[in-house]
């Protein structure tokens, strides 16, 4: 039997994405609309490290130990890796409601409110989470009731799960899926800037013993990372506090779980102890992205009167990775633990 296959154009999910994000590399990279400051961040890091490796490392490797440039290089690669990971990954964008779902929610709200006056009542839903009453707000853009801790980013025009903040320096929102990369980025950047700062000072001091302080200062490049050290170290400290108390920047700024509001206003998401909170934030399971490039929004193939659907029911093609020795090692070590 001859089968005539006719393909209709395939559309990937990111091509029909309603928010303001930009996608690159066939949907594998997801960033905010304005990325200028991200390129500035990259340039600042590259220039500072470049200057350090060019002017200071040779001297320090000779005078002290060659391990210094090695540690510097490792830190630098870690910083760049985590920065790119934070900037390019999906922060945990919630897909907008389908028209059917939005209509269903509207119906439920009308039933709950009874009358339909001129002014629609504020759309909130109250849930009790671990004994604490939390208000879920309705998002008029995404047409969903936002899950707890989610917030709508006005710059990216998306609701993001566990929304922390929109960071222009990384050119993306920081949310559920990329918070740990962001934290690792600022932590490693703090170590890198302190490392560079300390060794540049060391270089100046060692040099000044030979040729005098002012000459040494003239020869050495201006300590570019002096001011950034304090702001980055401060930011790392702030986020360490947030992680240990299982709060987001958004919640901290609003004072959602501040004891100043009332004695009973405790954080319902906290696990109770600092260690578990840290482990959950940094080593907890990482949910997959809903905007994965490989999801096909619709594939239709017609063949001689047989209608075949490419994805029925629609399934997420989770990338297959080789079930190699490493994965087996992981499972073995976990069973031992």
């Amino acid at each position: 039997m001859k089968m005539v296959l006719k393909k209709t154009p395939k559309k990937r999910k990111w091509e029909t994405f309603p928010g303001r994000n930009k996608f690159y590399c066939d949907g594998r990279i997801m960033m905010a609309k304005q990325t200028g400051v991200f390129y500035l961040t990259l340039v600042l890091i590259l220039v500072t490290c470049g200057l350090f490796f060019t002017f200071d490392c040779w001297f320090l490797a000779e005078q002290l130990t060659p391990i210094i440039p090695v540690i510097g290089a490792v830190l630098f690669l870690f910083v760049i890796g985590t920065l790119l990971r934070t900037s390019f990954s999906d922060p945990g964008v919630l897909p907008r409601a389908t028209p059917d779902e939005a209509a269903d929610l509207e119906r439920q709200i009308d039933v709950a409110n009874g009358s339909t006056g001129y002014r629609p009542p504020p759309r909130t839903k109250e849930v009790v989470i671990n004994g604490q009453t939390v208000k879920l707000k309705y998002c008029f853009t995404c047409k969903i009731f936002r899950p707890p801790r989610a917030s709508h980013c006005s710059l990216c025009d998306n609701c993001v799960e566990r929304f922390d903040h929109h960071c222009p320096w990384v050119g993306n929102c920081v949310g559920k899926r990329n918070y740990r990369f962001f934290y690792m980025f600022i932590l490693s950047l703090s170590f890198l800037t302190v490392f560079i700062f300390a060794f540049v000072i060391t270089h100046i001091i060692l040099n000044s013993q030979r040729i005098g302080f002012l000459s040494a200062l003239k020869d050495s490049p201006v300590v570019v990372c002096f001011f950034s050290v304090w702001s980055i170290v401060g930011l790392s400290g702030f986020h360490t506090y947030l992680i240990s108390s299982n709060q987001t920047t958004n919640e901290d700024i609003k004072g959602s779980w501040s004891s100043k509001r009332s004695k009973d206003n405790y954080n319902p998401y906290s696990y109770g102890n600092i260690f578990t909170n840290c482990c959950a934030a940094l080593c907890g399971p990482l949910p997959p992205s809903e905007q994965v490039a490989a999801i096909w929004a619709s594939i239709c193939m017609h063949a001689c009167g047989h209608r075949l659907s490419g994805s029925f029911p629609p399934t997420l093609p989770i990338p297959h990775r080789p079930e190699g020795a490493f994965s087996l090692f992981l499972q073995f070590s976990c069973s031992v633990l």
Partner: protein
């Protein structure tokens, strides 16, 4: 590779799910029911197990609750904070998260299991009753969409 192509190669499965596909394309959608998330235990992925009134004439309450309970247990297993997730997290951090390119995380493995379970439930329980469960992953883990097809297509 098109799923339909696979179905042609496996006539047994093709016969089983051909009726399902006919249902989807030839039957009209009567209604859609949305099972919302249950946030009483925090932000963990759990769905409400309350039996919706629209399904009263379509399916057993026990059957529906059994499906929901199994799904909730599977999601709890995916998000479990145990030794495996910690080891994965630590190793990922040490390798600057490049390890995610090589291995499948525990979460992804369980999501595959969930997708298989939903497919199986659709084939065995829901399709014969003119219903279709949509994997909540398609909706960002916000709702489980249950499509109710019109009865007359089943009698064709």
């Amino acid at each position: 590779m098109c799923r339909g192509h696979v179905l042609i190669c496996w006539p047994f499965f093709f016969l089983q799910t051909h009726s399902l596909q006919d249902l989807r394309h030839q039957a009209a959608v009567a209604a859609k029911v949305f099972i919302q998330r249950d946030y009483t235990n925090g932000t963990l992925c759990q769905f409400q197990t309350k039996f919706p009134s629209e399904l009263e004439t379509k399916i057993d309450k026990q059957q529906f609750e059994e499906t929901m309970r199994t799904l909730n247990n599977l999601y709890a297993e995916a998000e479990k904070l145990g030794s495996q997730s910690y080891v994965e997290g630590c190793l990922a951090c040490l390798t600057a998260y490049t390890i995610f390119l090589c291995i499948e995380t525990h979460y992804e493995k369980v999501l595959k299991k969930i997708a298989k379970y939903i497919q199986e439930q659709n084939d065995k329980v829901y399709a014969p009753r003119g219903l279709l469960l949509t994997d909540p992953l398609e909706r960002g883990l916000r709702v489980i969409e249950i499509t109710i097809f019109e009865d007359r297509s089943l009698t064709q």
